[in-house]
Symmetry: C2
């Protein structure tokens, strides 16, 4: 099943069911009006939405043509966004960029931060930045969305709480981050609002690419129309999603509609390219002594997308431009 949110001028938008090939959509006010409302009562709502989804795919119900420009983030706002950093090649490279070593404990203790979730940018919404000199960077990631997760859940029991998946552009202001992280309290200014992909999908939509813990597909990032990276999301992920959920729930329960991010998808094999500029710059420094690739400028565009093994877009594309 694929779900999205239509921008209707309100804060939460209108929930829509979207067909598999992302061409048709149907409003479902008789079932739920918002995606949060679905997560709040997943067991009763999801089967009814699945029914609409099947009918839409078969052409049994007449939907309307999906208007990509009118899509809000699937969650225009959410109660929780916890972002892991499970690809250690990313962690190692980005830390190297700010002159920090990666401690040995990072191999066994997941990195995770509490992100801002009061507003998620829509898939085509501009990245508004007051100053280019902040060092604007994209970070392409996979995200899972949970129902209610009990306190102290083990990784073995966490997978069944993953109800939906999508992609995120976890926008980072690189030049603000070193001073902010040095304070120890995580990101407030260094990470403005993130953008979500057009649709969220249930795990079954991924077929064999989903093993209950990781997504085994490449995540492609394009910068100004040029392929910048296509690392395999299922490789080099040191902590899988059930482990990240278990880490987050060690001392508290997680409420329905919690988004948990993989962290920037990154492979040890740098030839597959990068999901953020910072990694590319570090590899340039290692190879040539200095970084040649600048961060994003006003007018720059980023596109983030994941296709199945047949080349069909799963979540639709995040396509954003940096604006003043």
């Amino acid at each position: 099943m694929k779900l999205a949110t239509l921008n209707n001028g309100t804060r939460d938008g209108s929930l829509i069911v979207v067909n598999r090939n992302l061409q048709w959509a149907a409003l479902v006010p008789h079932i739920a009006t918002t995606l949060q409302g679905v997560l709040d009562e997943w067991d009763s709502k999801a089967p009814r939405l699945e029914e609409t989804y099947r009918s839409l795919n078969k052409g049994e119900i007449k939907g309307f043509s999906l208007p990509p420009a009118r899509l809000a983030a699937p969650f225009p706002r959410a109660y929780q966004w916890l972002d892991g950093s499970a690809y250690l090649s990313h962690v190692e490279r980005v830390r190297k960029a700010r002159g920090a070593e990666m401690p040995q404990s990072f191999w066994t203790d997941p990195l995770m931060y509490q992100g801002g979730s009061d507003y998620f940018l829509g898939p085509r919404e501009s990245i508004r930045v007051m100053d280019e000199a902040f060092g604007v960077d994209f970070e392409a990631e996979v995200v899972v969305i949970t129902d209610d997760v009990p306190l102290g859940i083990t990784p073995a029991h966490a997978s069944s709480h993953i109800k939906l998946l999508t992609l995120v552009n976890d926008i980072s202001l690189r030049h603000l981050i070193p001073a902010e992280l040095a304070k120890g309290f995580g990101f407030v200014q260094g990470k403005p609002a993130s953008a979500l992909a057009p649709v969220v999908v249930t795990p079954d939509e991924l077929g064999e690419a989903w093993d209950g813990a990781k997504v085994h597909l490449p995540l492609r990032t394009y910068w100004n129309g040029k392929l910048f990276g296509e690392p395999e999301a299922g490789e080099d992920m040191q902590f899988d999603f059930p482990q990240l959920i278990s880490h987050a729930a060690k001392t508290r329960s997680l409420s329905a509609g919690t988004l948990i991010g993989s962290g920037t998808v990154s492979n040890v094999d740098w030839r597959r390219g990068y999901s953020c500029i910072a990694e590319c710059r570090v590899m340039e420094i290692i190879a040539r002594g200095s970084a040649a690739t600048p961060f994003m400028s006003y007018g720059d565009r980023v596109r983030i997308e994941m296709e199945d093994r047949h080349g069909r877009s799963i979540f639709g594309a995040i396509e954003q431009e940096v604006s003043r």
Copy 2:
């Protein structure tokens, strides 16, 4: 005006208007059913709620007796909780406890972290902890709640966005925090769900104790019935609320219903006592070489309350017990 949320078995509860002396309440479904709904449309909803509040205070409408045991947190869940740490005597002492110096920049650059807001404990809800050995501590703070705050707002313009105030118990697991903060990504496991006071109030309820930037009243914390601290919230607050809001909004707008905390209220003059155990322990170490006061045990109770200059409770009391 004073507002609260009745636990009605749903995730968001039912909004109620509470009279000034916290004895009577009225449901207002014709105006709004949730506190978030009020913040979403403050300008149109607040005047109508104020009218109900006036009538309730005058006895013109018949409310029901406020049932303290049935109150949820005013926001049972919220889209954003950003907690500052504006009292530097707290910061200095707590850092000393984990062997860290306080950098000079902390006098000019506010400390703030993004906290979990997917669930706030009600004012009488137990602090459920899986292991006493986590080092359970309370932190008594003042919180402001904003409407929509534009990106890049200056402190001079931020005060008018403060629509409501309340108190929070920002529960901390002291023994998990040093390793977590060393990673630089802030708190995930070290800060489980916080508890909010029974009611939120508009700034005018504070009278002269509110100067548009700070609350000039003592904040009292009792541990197992004994007064543990009564620091003045208006003293030694290095960054006032408009400055904290401006800091948070440097690179992003803040959505209506954002909670911003003062950090643990603390005075340089230690004779007024403490709003958390960690500070008390550090002062013991300085005075005697070792900490005599333990952290909280199962069955321990904490009470946090602020009274006006006539001894009347403003927000009602947070009263919690630590449970397994």
